[in-house]
């Protein structure tokens, strides 16, 4: 930490502002819990899941520290480069053999890069740039024009479609949610919001009618409404996950307790998408609700950062990140407790996985940068 703080002194002089300690502390606590849970979920199989995750955590925190100290407004200049890089990576996944039936990864030897995770952050930056004033004339405009809304839709469309065909319906929906929230925050009219909502509803209806969803995707929705169907088949994940969460009861069965559902590995993918089942079973309702509360704190901080940002660009970045975080937590935890269909959306900071962890710390690094630079230099024209 000493290195980090000196780096900050050397790198930038932000004057009076300090890092968002609550944000960092919560992220750090969740990451630490994540390591424990990954260990708990993988120790019986003798896998090196935890060691790998420790490397990712170390790398992620470093990324957080570095990005925190880069002026987020500089990122505007980087947007074209990173956009092209992410697009290339999103196309590149189609060159490799599918894993578990999906092409989501670019193998890099030491780990598999999942471009879609970074694409979320890039899309947030792109939308924030688009939706914030780019010249003096636009300053003070309260409402978004229809062309701007369409441009925003186009920006999201390309990565969303690429991800959809990997297939990764869950991440596509993340893009949609981010777009929706950012347009709202950026000042979309009620009419525009209604039009988007109607278009989304129409999309859902057409998708269902045309049978564009794969059988397993429909099954996941059906099983949500009737968990009892086929507990040895399509209902298996949801049933086992419910067993694990329910077994935790109020105080949990204890960290690393023997004979738990999660220690038997009845819950599939429990160190990644279903990590929350391990938390809820071992630490109970108390532990589970604390984790949910920790996410609430992060999201609260992101909204506070958005409210205090020096410019609209920073505010929109923070709002977009908040939207991303909320969607991930709601859908991921929601699927383990049977209120959301099963999708491959991981839980920030807790789920094992390199790309996602790095993308999340990078996100909070950007948010922290917005926080650090929130106070305008005297005489500066705020582009808000």
């Amino acid at each position: 930490m000493a290195v980090l703080s000196r780096l900050r002194e050397v790198a930038v002089d932000r004057g009076r502002n300090k890092s968002d300690r609550i944000l960092f502390g919560t992220m750090f606590a969740l990451s630490a819990l994540g390591l424990l849970m990954v260990y708990s979920a993988t120790r019986s199989s003798g896998s090196v899941g935890m060691e790998r995750q420790m490397i990712f955590v170390a790398a992620g925190l470093t990324v957080y520290a570095i990005i925190s100290n880069i002026d987020y407004r500089e990122l505007k200049n980087l947007i074209p480069i990173v956009s092209v890089a992410v697009l290339i990576a999103l196309f590149a996944v189609y060159l490799f053999d599918p894993i578990n039936g999906a092409r989501r990864w670019v193998p890099l030897g030491f780990f598999n890069l999942q471009p879609a995770e970074f694409a979320k952050v890039v899309v947030i930056l792109l939308l924030a740039a688009l939706l914030s004033p780019s010249n003096r004339d636009e300053i003070g405009q309260r409402q978004l024009s229809w062309p701007t809304v369409f441009r925003a839709l186009l920006i999201v469309a390309l990565p969303a479609v690429l991800v959809l065909f990997e297939p990764d319906l869950g991440t596509t929906l993340v893009f949609g949610f981010i777009l929706f929230v950012m347009l709202f925050v950026a000042g979309a009219t009620w009419r525009q919001m209604l039009a988007l909502t109607a278009a989304a509803a129409l999309g859902v209806v057409v998708t269902l009618q045309r049978g564009w969803l794969e059988g397993y995707q429909l099954d996941r929705i059906r099983v949500l409404f009737n968990p009892a169907i086929d507990p040895q088949g399509i209902g298996y994940n949801i049933q086992q996950s419910r067993y694990a969460v329910g077994s935790g009861q109020l105080f949990g069965r204890g960290l690393f307790a023997e004979g738990t559902q999660t220690s038997f590995e009845y819950v599939p993918e429990q160190e990644t998408d279903f990590i929350f089942t391990a938390v809820a079973e071992q630490l109970g309702f108390v532990g589970g609700i604390l984790v949910v509360a920790a996410f609430a704190v992060i999201i609260w901080r992101l909204l506070v950062i958005a409210a205090n940002a020096r410019d609209r660009f920073g505010a929109l970045i923070a709002s977009g990140l908040a939207a991303m975080m909320v969607f991930h937590v709601f859908v991921n935890v929601g699927m383990t407790i049977g209120i959301m269909p099963v999708t491959g959306i991981p839980l920030p900071f807790l789920s094992a996985g390199g790309s996602f962890y790095l993308a999340m710390t990078l996100s909070l690094g950007v948010a922290n940068s917005v926080w650090l630079l929130r106070t305008p230099v005297p005489g500066e024209n705020q582009l808000t």
């Binding site: 929230v181 969460v245 329910g246 038997f264 609700i289 609430a296 407790i337």
Partner: protein, 653 residues
């Protein structure tokens, strides 16, 4: 809306979403937690079931007919298969066991995530090879499973039956069934399936990382109860060989007839026989030709073989499901009814003289509404036998005599001095028109035609003009579709009257045992795995009133049929004790494109009846010529005579 307000709105929505998560978490973990925890605990136990061997089947002398042996089978337990091993495993196992990979894939999916299923049985060599390489085959195990063995081959196939995988209807009816384990589908295997099946065993255990970490005490399977049949294997073999010879004989006769320019429609292909103990209603032999080997079904019959056998109706048990007009064999019932009910002849009719009827092949009817007379000619049997009493009429199977019985009854009904269905009631009482209640599958009830039935048919036919008609159109014009001629047909076992060979056999058993009606049984008793013997269930006997004099008269006349009557030629070389053998021939007229069905019912010994033998050769021709020699051969065996070859008898009725 101001920016700050938009952020606040967003915050409010986020809080709402998180509250939903919190509430649901409380509900699952605290409110419902204890119940879910209990269910979860139970769900961690996985069960492994093992199937019990089916019970053995013995003949009445204790000869083993069907048993179960333990054979190696390849099982896959998905609990021990990691997802990434799945595809390779399916490839390897399908090539080792010789199952289609796609089929195995489907079985794998159907078994469910922690499912265990049987891929198939394998030879001992293959089982050994698999056991050697179990390390490379996760989740695969070789278990000994019971497999059915039929030691008597196709003999008695229709009685013993065969196995098959349960269908949806079976699974719905008996939820305890395993869809991969064969159950009885026909005969005793089906009727007594639950007795033979036994109780499955099970082991419950908990698995972690593909290793068993805890196990509950196992429950061992209990072998099903054994069944002892009433049938006698040696007799059954005689009966089946005799039937086959009978079919061959019939085809020889047809060949002769063809060369003489007579009309022959079809090749003879099917036959059935029943041997019944008249006092106990034990079925001593029951055969249907052609037959099949039940062993074919043990590992699953291939479609070509199945279709080929199905084409020849090899799976149909004609003895209980084949329906034929009983023809002249039914004259014994009309005979008994005539004596018991003192049925009158029609008054003032030519050719009737007291108890005598002029059997010259014609019957003069003068009871027509316009007062005119009509001569009904017995086209099939134009013999002039002179004046016959009831005894001579049965011995010579005189249609004119029994027509007059029917006509007299019909006239008496019209005059109000007799019940209309008096003959049909007798038929019902001795077992026609309803199932006998034998312990076999697909028994047919047959049809006893009455005025009521014909009127029902007429109504149905008028309401459903598109369905195949049962009555000729001219009858629909009449006030009542039932005519006196229908009762005349009935009295000689023709017309719309149909019955199974089993019904014909049981009706004779009732007539000659003094009137006792029981349900026939192919099974004698069951013996459970601890050796407790339970006699087979049967309904209480019903006794119908038959005067011993009537019975004695009938027995004597059945004896005359064999010793001088229509079956005399067939019983020529019966050997010792032929005077103690009785019977009745029958030749059933079927449709216009079918040859006649040949019947013979034999009774022996007639001084104290014990056996009834009913033979039916489907489209076999004349009863006396073809069916009687088959029955004679079997009765020679029953009475201890050396059975002589089955050769042509005399063409009669």
């Amino acid at each position: 809306m101001k920016f700050a307000l938009r952020l606040t709105t967003l915050g409010a929505i986020f809080i709402a979403m998180f509250s939903v998560i919190g509430l649901r978490l409380w509900f699952i973990q605290v409110a419902e937690g204890p119940q879910i925890a209990r269910a979860a605990e139970e769900a961690t136990w996985v069960g492994k079931t093992s199937h019990a061997a089916r019970g053995d089947i013995y003949d009445r002398n204790g000869t083993l007919l069907a048993t179960s042996r333990m054979v190696p089978a390849v099982m896959i337990d998905r609990t021990f298969v990691q997802p990434e091993q799945r595809d390779i495993l399916i490839q390897e196992v399908s090539s080792i066991v010789g199952v289609d990979p796609l089929e195995l894939d489907a079985m794998y999916e159907e078994a469910g995530i922690n499912g265990r299923f049987q891929v198939g049985t394998v030879s001992n060599e293959t089982a050994y090879a698999i056991n050697e390489s179990l390390d490379e085959l996760p989740g695969v195990e070789v278990a000994k499973v019971p497999e059915r063995v039929y030691l008597s081959g196709p003999t008695m196939a229709h009685v013993i039956g065969h196995l098959g995988l349960p269908e949806e209807a079976d699974l719905a009816e008996r939820p305890e069934l395993d869809r991969n384990v064969r159950i009885g589908k026909l005969g005793v295997e089906r009727v007594y399936d639950e007795v033979l099946q036994g109780t499955g065993g099970s082991v419950e255990y908990r698995v972690r990382r593909s290793e068993i970490i805890e196990q509950r005490p196992p429950v061992n399977p209990v072998t099903g109860s054994s069944i002892v049949l009433n049938l006698d294997l040696a007799l059954q073999e005689q009966v089946e060989l005799a039937l086959e010879s009978g079919v061959a004989l019939s085809n020889e006769v047809k060949e002769e007839e063809r060369s003489n320019g007579e009309e022959v429609f079809n090749e003879t292909q099917r036959a059935a026989a029943v041997v019944l103990d008249v006092n106990t209603f034990d079925v001593l032999a029951l055969a249907s030709f052609p037959d099949f080997d039940p062993q074919l079904f043990v590992a699953g019959i291939d479609e070509t073989t199945f279709d080929g056998l199905n084409e020849t109706k090899a799976f149909n048990n004609l003895a209980v499901s084949g329906l034929y007009p009983p023809a002249s064999t039914f004259k014994a019932i009309t005979y008994t009814a005539k004596l018991e009910e003192n049925l009158p002849f029609p008054p003032d009719v030519e050719g009737v003289d007291g108890d005598l009827i002029h059997c010259d092949g014609t019957l003069v009817l003068d009871q027509l509404a316009d007062g005119s007379a009509q001569v009904k000619r017995d086209w099939y049997d134009p013999r002039n036998l002179g004046w016959l009493d009831i005894h001579g009429a049965l011995e010579n199977s005189c249609n004119i005599y029994f027509w007059n019985v029917a006509l007299g009854t019909y006239v008496a009904y019209q005059q109000g001095t007799a019940k209309e269905n008096i003959l049909q009631d007798w038929a019902t009482r001795v077992g026609y028109g309803h199932e006998t209640g034998i312990d076999l599958t697909s028994e047919a009830p047959g049809i006893i035609p009455t005025r009521g039935l014909f009127e029902d048919w007429k109504t149905y036919q008028l309401e459903n003009p598109d369905e195949p008609p049962r009555l000729e159109p001219a009858r629909l014009e009449l006030a009542s579709p039932w005519l006196g001629g229908d009762l005349m047909d009935f009295a000689i076992g023709q017309g719309a009257f149909t019955a199974t060979p089993l019904q014909v056999a049981t009706s004779y058993a009732v007539l000659v045992n003094g009137g006792t009606v029981m349900e026939p049984r192919v099974v004698k008793e069951t013996i459970d795995s601890e050796g407790n013997v339970t006699p087979v269930e049967r309904s209480a006997p019903v006794t119908i009133d038959i005067d011993p004099a009537t019975r004695a008269s009938l027995l004597a006349d059945l004896g005359r049929v064999v010793n001088g009557g229509t079956a005399a030629a067939a019983f020529n070389d019966f050997g010792e004790g032929v005077e103690n053998v009785g019977g009745k021939t029958g030749t059933a007229q079927a449709s216009a494109t079918q040859d006649n069905h040949a019947w013979f019912v034999g009774v022996t010994p007639i001084d104290n009846p014990r056996y009834v033998v009913a033979i039916l050769i489907d489209e076999g021709g004349s009863g006396g010529q073809v069916a009687a020699p088959v029955a004679r051969h079997i009765m020679q065996y029953l009475t201890g005579n050396e059975p002589t070859p089955i050769v042509e008898g005399e063409e009669a009725d």
